[in-house]
């Protein structure tokens, strides 16, 4: 059995008007202080007011939400007993909203236990989940994955269960128009990475491949535009669509090695998710095409679909990798670990931890070529120096 989870998606101009159609009495909004400061809650709360839905705000979500924050949110939501939980923000806020609605259904659980191993059945209890993204990156609005950080041992925890796929995702461009260029670039790299990794994932199917392919082409085309001119509405809209499709495809297939290695880097050195996975993407794709004929064909398919018709499969795949590097440069993303300002000695000191984390990510296991300890060490060293992978 395979399955494909998907939310109801309202998108495009005035998508927030969909809020007038929802039924309920109380909404619990999960967000962060920055979103509140930017005034991004107002267009949502205005609509909730017009629909006579009461609301309360939990704005304590931090980047890479910690287990403690989720616990706090779980207590607050339990007191409020809403019928909707609405995550508004980037991936962190939306992921936190997912964890919080699961705790609303099962308050006795620890946040670490919010996984496929438990049943939650929150819809049977009249609870629903909505996600409203303010970045175009993780596609968390159309994914059931929850990434939390375990601050005790500097590790990212991949949690979630298909049950927590949002009921509704609202993709309204007004929510992303003000995103600064740096955030546009960081989150945009995640879109490209997720879309490509979902397409070549060993868990991928013809159903998950479609959105991934389109998301890759959209992101390659529109990310530079959205970065250069944040007011470019068409670019913003297409990046929103691409992000959603990347998340949708990826949570139904799984991401790959750039996510496995990027999570290891982010877990230890605390950098934005998209920047870390984007950094590793060219290296991991090189590693994959050197060892998997099947994946090489798929990467060449993506390249051709994106207009990079360079000849043989290998040449096409290499053209796509080169395109990713050029794009990253164009939007001022680091091309090597060294460029992130990480000291070489520090990098070597953390090598065992990096490898250990990457080895034990499901996303590493679903890559079409799975590295062992030795290859991972080499890959981390090559990526530090900015050297193309030749093994």
């Amino acid at each position: 059995m395979e399955n494909f989870s998907c939310p109801f998606i309202a998108y495009g101009d005035n998508a927030l008007d969909y809020l007038a159609q929802i039924k309920g009495k109380k909404a619990f909004i999960v967000t962060d202080k920055n979103i509140v400061k930017l005034g991004l809650l107002k267009p949502v709360t205005d609509k909730l007011n017009a629909t006579n839905i009461k609301w309360e705000i939990f704005d304590e979500v931090e980047a890479e939400p910690s287990l403690d924050t989720i616990k706090k949110g779980g207590i607050a939501v339990g007191k409020y007993q809403p019928d909707w939980v609405i995550g508004i923000g980037g991936g962190s806020c939306m992921d936190a909203a997912k964890a919080i609605i699961l705790l609303l259904a099962r308050p006795e659980l620890e946040p670490e236990a919010l996984s496929v191993l438990e049943d939650f059945n929150f819809r049977d209890k009249g609870k629903k989940l909505m996600a409203i993204p303010t970045t175009s990156g993780t596609g968390s609005e159309a994914s059931w994955a929850i990434v939390l950080s375990d601050t005790k041992d500097n590790r990212k925890l991949g949690l979630g269960t298909p049950e927590v796929m949002p009921d509704v995702a609202i993709l309204d461009p007004v929510m992303v128009m003000g995103m600064p260029p740096q955030v546009t670039a960081d989150t945009g790299m995640d879109v490209i990475c997720q879309a490509i990794e979902a397409y070549i994932s060993s868990w991928g199917t013809s159903i998950t491949a479609g959105p991934a392919l389109i998301a890759t082409r959209l992101a390659l085309q529109y990310l530079p535009r959205a970065y250069k001119d944040g007011k470019d509405v068409d670019a913003r809209k297409e990046m929103m669509n691409a992000a959603m499709m990347g998340g949708l495809s990826g949570c139904n297939s799984m991401f790959g090695l750039a996510h496995g290695t990027g999570h290891a880097l982010g877990g230890i050195f605390h950098m934005p998710h998209g920047r870390t996975v984007g950094l590793f993407l060219p290296y991991t794709l090189e590693y994959i095409i050197n060892g998997s004929e099947e994946a090489l064909v798929k990467i060449a398919e993506i390249a051709r679909y994106c207009g990079l018709n360079a000849g043989s499969d290998k040449e096409c795949a290499k053209a796509l990798i080169a395109r990713i590097r050029t794009l990253a440069k164009e939007i001022k993303q680091p091309l090597s670990v060294k460029e992130c300002g990480i000291d070489k000695a520090q990098w070597e000191k953390e090598m065992e931890g990096l490898v250990n984390r990457a080895l034990n990510e499901v996303m590493t296991m679903t890559a079409p070529r799975v590295p062992g300890t030795e290859d991972l060490e080499k890959l981390f060293r090559y990526a530090y120096d900015g050297k193309s992978i030749d093994f």
């Binding site: 191993l117 925890l157 060993s202 080895l359």
Partner: protein
């Protein structure tokens, strides 16, 4: 060649695990025993229990158990026969089986999550056994 879910198969599984350098490396700090449970259905008439004791990269014991009270393992992994067959022949990933609720794991999830690679290597071990399937 050994029939699936017999003591003969368990012996071969134990041997395969103990011969796997990749498993040993990935599970060198693992401590925890399992019941692998086959739910009735298809060629399986009664619930079957296989006890697997995994410790620091090695398999200390693997046996078919008729009395489920014999051990109190830290983890249980239960699935119908058809799903076990799919997992053991790598047609279905063991994590994907959990996500789609085709198998059910009990025990400390946070602990298991840190050993994804080891879980994968355990499946690779089943692939090395010449298995006579029951259907």
């Amino acid at each position: 060649m050994a029939k699936f879910f017999t003591q003969e198969w368990c012996d071969l599984y134990k041997e395969a695990i103990n011969n796997s350098a990749a498993y040993e490396e990935a599970a060198k700090t693992w401590e925890g025993d399992f019941y692998f449970i086959t739910e009735p259905g298809g060629p399986i008439k009664e619930k079957g229990y296989m006890y697997v004791d995994l410790w620091h990269g090695k398999c200390r014991g693997c046996e078919v158990v008729t009395d489920p009270d014999k051990y109190k393992p830290a983890f249980t992994l239960a699935a119908p026969y058809a799903i076990w067959k799919q997992i053991s022949t790598k047609k279905l990933d063991s994590t994907k089986a959990l996500i789609t609720k085709q198998s059910k794991l009990t025990g400390d999830m946070a602990k298991v999550m840190r050993y994804t690679k080891a879980a994968n290597e355990l499946t690779n071990c089943t692939m090395t056994i010449q298995t006579e399937w029951l259907d």
